[in-house]
Homo-oligomer: 471 residues x 2
Amino acid sequence: MPLQSVSTSLADTLRHRRQRLAQALDVPVILWSGSYSPRNFPANTFPFRASSHFLYLAGLSLPNAAIRLAEGKLELFMDDSLPDSALWHGAMPTAEDIAQSIGADAAFPMAVLESRVANAATIAVQDYPTQLAQAKLLKRAVTQASASSEIDAQLTQAMISLRLTHDQGALAELRQAAAVTVEAHLAGMAATLSAQIEADVRAAMERVIISHNMTCAYNSIVTVHGEVLHNEQYHHQLQPGDLLLADVGAETAMGWAADVTRTWPVSGNFSPTQRDIYQVVLAAHDACIAKVHPHVEYQDIHLLAATTIAEGLVDLGILHGQPEDLVEMDAHALFFPHGVGHLLGLDVHDMEDLGDFAGYEPGRVRSDRFGLNYLRLNRPLHPGMLVTIEPGFYQVPAILHDAERRSKYQGVVDWEHLAQFADVRGIRIEDDVLVTETGSEVLTAALPTAMDEIERVVRETFTTSGLTQLD
Amino acid sequence: MPLQSVSTSLADTLRHRRQRLAQALDVPVILWSGSYSPRNFPANTFPFRASSHFLYLAGLSLPNAAIRLAEGKLELFMDDSLPDSALWHGAMPTAEDIAQSIGADAAFPMAVLESRVANAATIAVQDYPTQLAQAKLLKRAVTQASASSEIDAQLTQAMISLRLTHDQGALAELRQAAAVTVEAHLAGMAATLSAQIEADVRAAMERVIISHNMTCAYNSIVTVHGEVLHNEQYHHQLQPGDLLLADVGAETAMGWAADVTRTWPVSGNFSPTQRDIYQVVLAAHDACIAKVHPHVEYQDIHLLAATTIAEGLVDLGILHGQPEDLVEMDAHALFFPHGVGHLLGLDVHDMEDLGDFAGYEPGRVRSDRFGLNYLRLNRPLHPGMLVTIEPGFYQVPAILHDAERRSKYQGVVDWEHLAQFADVRGIRIEDDVLVTETGSEVLTAALPTAMDEIERVVRETFTTSGLTQLD
């Protein structure tokens, strides 16, 4: 029952957001929620996920709905469910009831929307049938990531300016997602000693998320092959010498996400080589978080991660040279080939449906440098922004065995020495960091990053639900 | 790595299926696998699920691929992944390697397909962007469930005739899905006494499915509100007097599904009223399974369920009259408002992407009778068909409080007596039943249906993985 999740304070939050949007933009705005995506036949759908822009202003995950904001009024457009629908989906609140709960001034059947579209700006939803419906009603192309009309471009900029920094209502949700995600990771660590394959650990983690009535904000990564960055396989056996990399995040019922990675030893003990590299990644993680402050450029945090990793690898004898020079020539990216993080909010890469419009300050574009190209965020930080900090070290065969790169970096990599670190395929340490007025707050700080603490959690025997110790 | 899942015998199975299709149809056939559906931004997708028609003939879950069958040859169309892709998704086999593994005669980049489309028949995939690509290449409308060209209609009929009865390769997969689903239900029962909310039980069940490297064939139903047939909420507290209805099924990596429902008491003990109604549903379940034989009309099995339930409710004093008369006037459907089952195969409602073309014998259409309208299968049974048998009893407020129905059935329902059964909101018992030469085989027979056995499983303390008894 979606109505239950709307508290008075949330209704106030929503009203406040809409007022701010109205101040930023003086044209009518129509936002669609989107529809179900079919899996293998129309009645077997993936779980519904409303458009984040709709969720931001309407608060409820309503399929096949739209809202129109104009002249300080909110109109809700949705069809009441058919009588038969109560049999299959239960009694649903009426559109009138829902309108009241989100502070809308009126509710209309979807068919009425056609008469209310004049001069309205919109943002494309993700599901294509609804996107076509948007274009048909507005009589213009409505496509993702490239606003095709001036008013759509204005709306996009206005939504970005609103969503870039989080209000108290958003933060309350984001803190809940973070807390459940921390619990999921602890459960995953605790389930590892008794697990046979990656999927056992994944299941223990997702169990926590499901049991809090949340969903996964993205397809979980739980793998002994951390060198595959977006590994979505879960069938590998866990071997005693393996590191397990788990990148798993919860999403609240209202759509707010967490995004956390930890890497722990399957046996409960890091090997000496794993300790060496883990310490390098952790140093980068800690240095970057310490640097998060208002007005700091996020790209500088990325470069700090790169330099810290280069430094650590020089100390270990894997790289040779001055860390700054190594970063200048992108040698760090041989082992740290992605960005240090991204925006986090309703989307796990917040507002990435808008391409780089949200992630990149106007006028900036992606670098074509190997070591910067994957950076998803390039803006100065401001209080209220939530970002991930997620440095990593990977031995990616496609990079390290690439003849061109081996030749280019021949003088700075000690390949023979590197071979001693073969039991480190991938390590990532990722936390969710809120920019505050005076610095930062790590929303996921309750989850240990130190090796000794992680080993302790892995070695202690917990049940997977509630972390009740058995012995 | 998809290649690992192709054994020699599967390649033979695939070759045999393609030969049978070629015998049934003498035009070229092109089948697309479909693409990822985005969740909230393009890079955050739902898990990929290939079109079942593609899976049936190509065996592997390959995104953005197509196969062309013509003159006894199989051509595979897919683009090799970009070099960068190895970083994010790992090294992938080449199109050439994949072609070899599925017994294709040649592999081409997707762009070549445009030159091979002449006179080809196809079936619409589920994702709309790929569906538009199908239409564009074939230069005609390609839409779901209504073949718009003669050759597409012929292909649809040919695929139905192939997929209606399962070959040995299919049955091996279906048996695996069934076995894992049985294990999941046992784990769900065993997790109930320590569970707080529905989501705890769901998590324990899905953990088993994930740990076998399978997925859920459909969104799980795990609810104390069984009266909502497709309930996808999991946040309700479990109360001692509640029945928990769990409709959860696994799907193998190659796409073959199971679909099983059990209903058990949260406390480990059925109440006397719950026992009474459960026994009625179980009698229908057992009678229907006993009736499954070649040449029996599936609708007659549905009507047997209806009659058995009516009989049971007469015995309990809830309905008055002759069971046959009650079924004739659809009084059973007040409490059993859905069909007794459906086809099961690659899709949990097999081939429902084709509307009723697969479920209904040519020339037959859905009845508009309240008690027959939801029947998804209306064909004579043949050896090799796999069907679900899933009678149920529900107290659906939208039905039982409907003024028109209350008036129509005033004389046959003892509403006052019914009120004594208020602790039975919904019961369903569902198994997967294979039609054999001599009768039937229940693929999910290892999962108990008897109340005493179910109570025993609920009350015993198991861990959720591996069913190791703790005490």
